[in-house]
């Protein structure tokens, strides 16, 4: 976990062991301002191609939201004012600066933005954590889900003749990340294997002790002992 998040107390989501976590560590020395042009471009594209997002957020124009990708050393400040929306990369945000905070791993947040996963299901399973003004978070979720965002395709459509190579590059990167994720999973399983074995042994031992305790209680009851 990085130190870069708007937090109100304990760590809300443990980042998964993933290529993004590694990328986050590599990006740690980078100043957030260096990433700002990328987010400016993304906002410009989304604003042009999905104006309905800000329209659905019109009642929450003055409610800033902190989006916290828990596996990156940055947070993103979203200010949804339809006249002057902003998406700012920051190292950290004070809780009082925003109406609400959304915590989750980067890949999950992207999948959520693209409508590939259900926000309620992520919340039920505790993989997505929200804090603060629930109403603005629900509005943002609904506005984004309803827009039908496809980040790669949206960017490609803006690139004119470069769209085709961009799609190819994006596909290659996604494929690479997918393969890396599989390798990371293998690595993770290898690292925690001894701990899993210990835990299984301890579980079996606890079950055995519980059984013995039950027998003793039965025997005690039969013997009239409380």
């Amino acid at each position: 976990m990085t130190q870069a998040h708007a937090r109100t107390g304990t760590t809300p989501v443990t980042p998964p062991f993933s290529p993004v976590l590694l990328l986050g560590m590599a990006l740690k020395p980078l100043r957030p301002a260096a990433l700002q042009p990328l987010f400016d471009a993304m906002l410009k594209v989304v604003r042009r191609r999905h104006p309905d997002i800000l329209e659905r957020m019109a009642d929450y124009a003055d409610k800033a939201v902190c989006i916290d990708p828990v596996d990156l050393p940055f947070v993103i400040l979203l200010e949804p004012n339809p006249e002057d929306p902003r998406l700012t990369v920051r190292r950290s945000i004070e809780p009082g600066e925003v109406a609400a905070t959304i915590h989750g791993p980067l890949e999950m947040l992207i999948a959520l933005a693209e409508g590939k996963v259900d926000g309620d299901a992520l919340f039920f399973s505790r993989r997505l954590v929200i804090e603060g003004d629930t109403e603005v978070v629900v509005a943002l979720r609904n506005a984004i889900d309803g827009a039908g965002i496809d980040l790669i395709e949206d960017m490609a459509q803006e690139l004119g003749p470069l769209a085709r190579p961009f799609r190819g590059l994006a596909g290659a990167v996604i494929g690479l990340v997918g393969r890396m994720r599989e390798d990371f999973e293998t690595l993770r399983a290898a690292i925690i294997a001894p701990a899993v074995k210990d835990s299984a042994n301890q579980g079996a031992r606890i079950a055995q002790l519980e059984g013995e305790l039950k027998q003793l209680r039965k025997a005690a009851r039969r013997g009239g002992v409380a």
Partner: protein
């Protein structure tokens, strides 16, 4: 106006809170999609959700081009003396050529029947009509063609109702969130927040909900009242009072209902035999990923039943509330 489905082949009626969800539902195989306007005329009046008139017109065009229907839920109860936005909603549904309006309030149903005789009327679950006498009254007096049955009847009871109300159609919920109270009459949310699904279109309004992370887990509050606490590894549910966990006799438990989702995929053959006309999936407040997953599963299920094939084994656990499923009142397994 689109024709009524064959009584032998149930329609799959699917939720959409946004235009993207409507397209997802149609693409995934929905026969009908039900939607609501972006105001308090529908019982899913959630922030950032629902359709404006232009979006509904586009949604209807998208669905009709692909052979699907669009039903408009105008299923809250108009405020006394201020029925204008409800009347306008019905007029706009008719004007935009929605395939039916789903209504709950008896006064609004009378208005729709009189002012828009061409508009097909369905009775919302919010009207809580659960016996043949009530259903026949709505049909004979107002021309209601279909009734969405409250989630309180067993399959046998549904079959008995169907046998006595023909040609009125019945629609039953097959998947999604459950209400424990008599539908259309639940006021729990009003006590904590001053707003209810019946009058304001929202149960547990998001503006009244707070989640707080602590070292023990997450605490959910509604209107300033703590209604549940979940440990770090415990699946969570919606922040509704009916699914709150309360302490009685020194023990914290779900006094009304556990966070769980209805799933009747395994019961589809029985519901078909019971003469149900339409299967309804709950969840206009859910994302399009939920809509696509559930519609695909039930499309496969209905098609399998109609083809006389075994039901598909589809795991929907990952999108259920609290990670749990039930067949609810259809089996009344707790008896």
């Amino acid at each position: 106006m689109a024709s009524v489905a064959s009584p032998n082949r149930p329609e799959l009626v699917c939720p959409a809170g946004t235009p993207a969800a409507l397209r997802s539902a149609v693409d995934a195989g929905a026969d009908c999609v039900y939607v609501g306007f972006r105001d308090e005329t529908n019982a899913r009046n959630f922030p950032g959700l629902n359709f404006n008139r232009k979006e509904l017109a586009e949604g209807i065009a998208y669905a009709h081009e692909r052979g699907a229907k669009v039903l408009v839920a105008i299923n809250t109860f108009p405020r006394a003396g201020q029925p204008e936005i409800w009347h306008q909603a019905v007029a706009d549904a008719a004007k935009l050529k929605a395939d039916a309006a789903i209504l709950a309030d008896i006064g609004l149903i009378e208005h729709a029947h009189r002012a828009h005789p061409e508009l097909r009327l369905h009775l919302s679950v919010q009207a809580a009509a659960s016996n043949p006498d009530a259903i026949r009254f709505y049909a004979e007096r107002f021309g209601v063609r279909r009734v969405v049955l409250p989630r309180v009847l067993t399959v046998q009871e549904i079959a008995a109702v169907n046998a006595r109300i023909a040609p009125v159609e019945t629609e039953v919920f097959v998947f999604g969130g459950l209400c424990v109270m008599a539908e259309g009459r639940c006021a729990l949310s009003s006590y904590a927040t001053g707003q209810s699904p019946n009058m304001n279109g929202v149960c547990s309004p998001a503006g009244e909900v707070r989640y707080t992370e602590t070292s023990q887990g997450i605490t959910s509050e509604l209107g300033g009242f703590t209604i549940n606490k979940f440990a770090h590894d415990e699946p969570a549910g919606y922040p509704t009072l009916c699914k709150g966990r309360f302490i009685a006799k020194d023990k914290a438990s779900y006094l009304f209902e556990e966070p769980t989702s209805l799933n009747t995929l395994s019961m589809l053959p029985d519901l078909v035999k019971a003469g149900v006309t339409a299967f309804k999936i709950e969840g206009r407040q859910r994302g399009r990923a939920y809509v696509a997953a559930v519609v695909q599963a039930f499309r496969a299920g209905v098609d399998a039943v109609m083809a006389g094939k075994p039901l598909p084994d589809i795991d929907l656990d990952r999108i259920t509330e609290g990670g749990k499923q039930t067949t609810g009142a259809y089996e009344k397994a707790w008896r």
